[in-house]
């Protein structure tokens, strides 16, 4: 169970940084700071998959980074199974598995070593670690390249290794930041199957994406972030209902339009 309330995060701007014209139009820029995330709230229950949608630069990655404790929010709260991420970051981290499309591996280490390194950093015992990695290798069909160095792997192999690394400590929550962006079709399928597997095991998954077909096939809940504000949060049925004909693309676009018109009214 993940519960997020009124999350906000601003990045200080350098004194000399000049804003471009397009940046000046963005409501999130003030003189001193860029308010990347202004007010994001949503929740995700056990066994649910939540799709995070939004245009580029909307604040999706910042939100997910705050969720995963990499960044500290300025305001708001994040509860992971009752653990306050802000107050007990180390305890929260033990429950989180995080993966993004550009997540790298240590090229000089083998698949096994890459995964084992993070397992050990999560404080796993050697025997349990070996057993768990063996389990994951079977699950993801990775035994063939277990001892190959990451430098010599194909993209698919790398992504499988990255997935195994993200869940080696059996996290209670899995966060994926655009996990399918820039990957080939086969590798995307591996990622999607993996999400399905997590869902079947009752692990909540939050992932951001630009692919609406992934949302349609996987998600129970949808959150749309636009200009740092959660413009929509609800289940997939409610999201579909936003458009007259149940088309997800139209539903998404109608949300953004509503946003723009609301702003114009505000200015007027």
């Amino acid at each position: 169970m993940i519960d997020i309330q009124d999350l906000a995060k601003a990045f200080a701007l350098g004194k000399n940084s000049k804003l471009s014209d397009t940046e000046k139009q963005d409501v999130r820029y003030s003189k001193e700071a860029f308010h990347s995330v202004r007010n994001v709230s949503f929740s995700c229950g056990a066994g649910e998959v939540l799709g995070l949608l939004g245009p580029n630069g909307a604040g999706k990655t910042t939100t997910l980074r705050m969720l995963s404790t990499a960044l500290k929010p300025d305001a708001g709260s994040v509860l992971l199974n009752g653990v306050d991420v802000l107050k007990q970051p180390v305890k929260a981290r033990q429950q989180i598995g995080f993966l993004s499309a550009d997540t790298g591996l240590y090229g000089k280490l083998t698949a096994f070593e890459n995964i084992a390194y993070f397992g050990r950093l999560h404080g796993m015992k050697e025997s349990a670690l070996k057993q768990r990695i063996d389990e994951l290798f079977t699950l993801l069909n990775m035994h063939d390249f277990a001892n190959r160095r990451a430098d010599n792997m194909s993209t698919g192999m790398k992504q499988k290794t990255a997935i195994a690394r993200a869940v080696v400590h059996s996290p209670k929550v899995v966060i994926l930041d655009e996990p399918t962006t820039g990957l080939d079709i086969m590798t995307v399928q591996t990622v999607l199957d993996f999400i399905k597997g997590l869902k079947a095991a009752g692990t909540p998954v939050i992932f951001s994406t630009h692919h609406l077909d992934e949302v349609a096939s996987l998600c129970d809940r949808v959150v749309v972030i636009d200009k740092g504000i959660s413009a929509f949060s609800g289940d997939i049925g409610q999201f579909r209902a936003l458009s007259g004909n149940g088309d997800l693309r139209e539903a998404f676009l109608s949300l953004l339009k509503r946003d723009v018109s609301a702003e114009k009214q505000g200015v007027a």
């Binding site: 990045f11 200080a12 980074r65 995963s68 404790t69 990499a70 960044l71 500290k72 180390v90 305890k91 981290r93 033990q94 989180i96 995080f98 993004s100 550009d102 997540t103 790298g104 591996l105 240590y106 090229g107 000089k108 280490l109 070593e113 390194y117 993070f118 050990r120 950093l121 999560h122 404080g123 160095r149 690394r165 993200a166």
Partner: protein
């Protein structure tokens, strides 16, 4: 922390470039370069020593004994040229017909008989680094003048046994109070300190780039940050790795230089090198290592802070190159003649370490100053490590 440390070391060991920089370079390539430069210098010096100098003497009939002595010297060869004036002789030297010309005045023997001083001239190209020719010339001339002096004394009815006392009433013998080690230490110590500190720096620089900026460039930093391990432990693990390679590079270099020195010393049977190596106590070496420890820690912390700030390898390298020059400056100061280790120079970072290593090599180090240097260096290193840890907590550094 140790998990991070061992993993970083494993990665570095598997990297061929690290092996080249940390091990191959100091063990083989540096001694080889030193060896080549040394032997080339020895070879050219030897050649210059053996060289035969072509000469002419103008008016040699005025000093036949001298002309004869020069004729039979193995490093001189008489030539015949028509030139007699100074300008003509210079021209002949420029045209490479002769190497040296001696002009004896036409009234030489007449003046000598009247006990008057005569002026000779020697013309040769004096821009060469080795001036062995003039030494040989002086040898011959000295023998000739001594004979003349004896003859003159006889003419004056003086006992020729009084000659030394008349020519040189006071003879001074120089006795060196510095032992051999102090002399050699002064020369080798400065260069050794320079090489050691620079090697510590370069030994730290390469892995630092990989461990800091590399983590960002590969996209592994974010995953690392959300592991349930404190960022302090993360930094210290990385810091220890860099410190290890820095010290290792310096240690391997010293060991290999020592080893090669022994091998060459053994081959050429010069006991001087062996004597000096043996006169340096193990405790001196331990002190040197102890001084390099905080120095390497300073470098490691500083380089890690730079590297973790940089977004890419390239950016990190761009920051590190000017830093190398900044590190070189205090080393140059320490090598400058006249700079001694005092209570004030002991407080200049890096310079003090270089000076202390020199003193240790010379065997004249004051323990109180060494302690002061160690304490001040540890303080600076601790401050830099604290800064590096603080730096690593900053979001604006990690997510740029």
């Amino acid at each position: 922390m140790w998990q991070v440390y061992f993993k970083e070391l494993l990665e570095l060991v598997r990297d061929k470039k690290t092996l080249i920089f940390v091990i191959l370079l100091p063990i083989f390539i540096f001694p080889m370069l030193f060896g080549i430069v040394g032997s080339v210098m020895a070879f050219t010096a030897n050649k210059a020593k053996q060289q035969e100098h072509r000469y002419v003497i103008v008016n040699k009939e005025q000093a036949p004994e001298f002309a004869e002595a020069l004729f039979y010297h193995k490093n001189f060869k008489q030539m015949e040229v028509s030139a007699t004036t100074e300008a003509q002789l210079i021209e002949a030297i420029k045209q490479d017909k002769i190497d040296v010309a001696v002009i004896i005045p036409a009234d030489n023997s007449k003046k000598q008989n009247q006990l008057e001083q005569v002026d000779w001239k020697i013309i040769y190209n004096q821009s060469s680094q080795y001036d062995f020719m003039f030494n040989y010339f002086n040898e011959v001339l000295q023998g000739y003048t001594e004979d003349l002096q004896k003859r003159s004394l006889k003419q004056l009815d003086l006992d020729e046994r009084a000659l030394p006392a008349i020519i040189k009433p006071v003879k001074v013998v120089k006795v060196d109070s510095a032992d051999k080690r102090e002399n050699v230490g002064e020369k080798i110590g400065a260069i050794l300190a320079y090489a050691l500190i620079l090697l510590c720096f370069s030994g730290a620089a390469y892995p630092a780039v990989d461990i800091g900026a590399g983590e960002k460039e590969r996209g592994t930093l974010e995953t690392l940050l959300i592991c349930p391990i404190s960022r302090t432990a993360l930094v210290l693990g990385k810091f220890m790795t860099i410190l290890t390679t820095a010290l290792l590079t310096a240690l391997i270099t010293v060991a290999s230089l020592g080893l090669w020195g022994m091998v060459i010393g053994g081959l050429s049977k010069t006991d001087a090198v062996v004597d000096i190596v043996q006169s340096i106590a193990v405790s001196d070496l331990m002190l040197m290592f102890l001084l390099l420890l905080p120095t390497s820690a300073m470098f490691a912390a500083l380089l890690l802070a730079i590297s973790i700030y940089a977004r890419t390898f390239k950016e990190a390298q761009n920051y590190i190159s000017p830093l190398t020059i900044i590190v070189l400056m205090p080393l140059m100061v320490a090598m400058a003649p006249g700079i001694e280790l005092t209570a004030s120079t002991a407080l200049v970072p890096i310079t003090n370490i270089a000076l202390a290593i020199k003193e240790l090599m010379k065997g004249t180090a004051e323990l109180s100053l060494i302690c002061l240097i160690f304490a001040s260096s540890v303080a600076i290193a601790a401050a830099l490590i604290a800064f590096c840890v603080h730096w690593f907590q900053q979001e604006k550094v990690l997510f740029r």
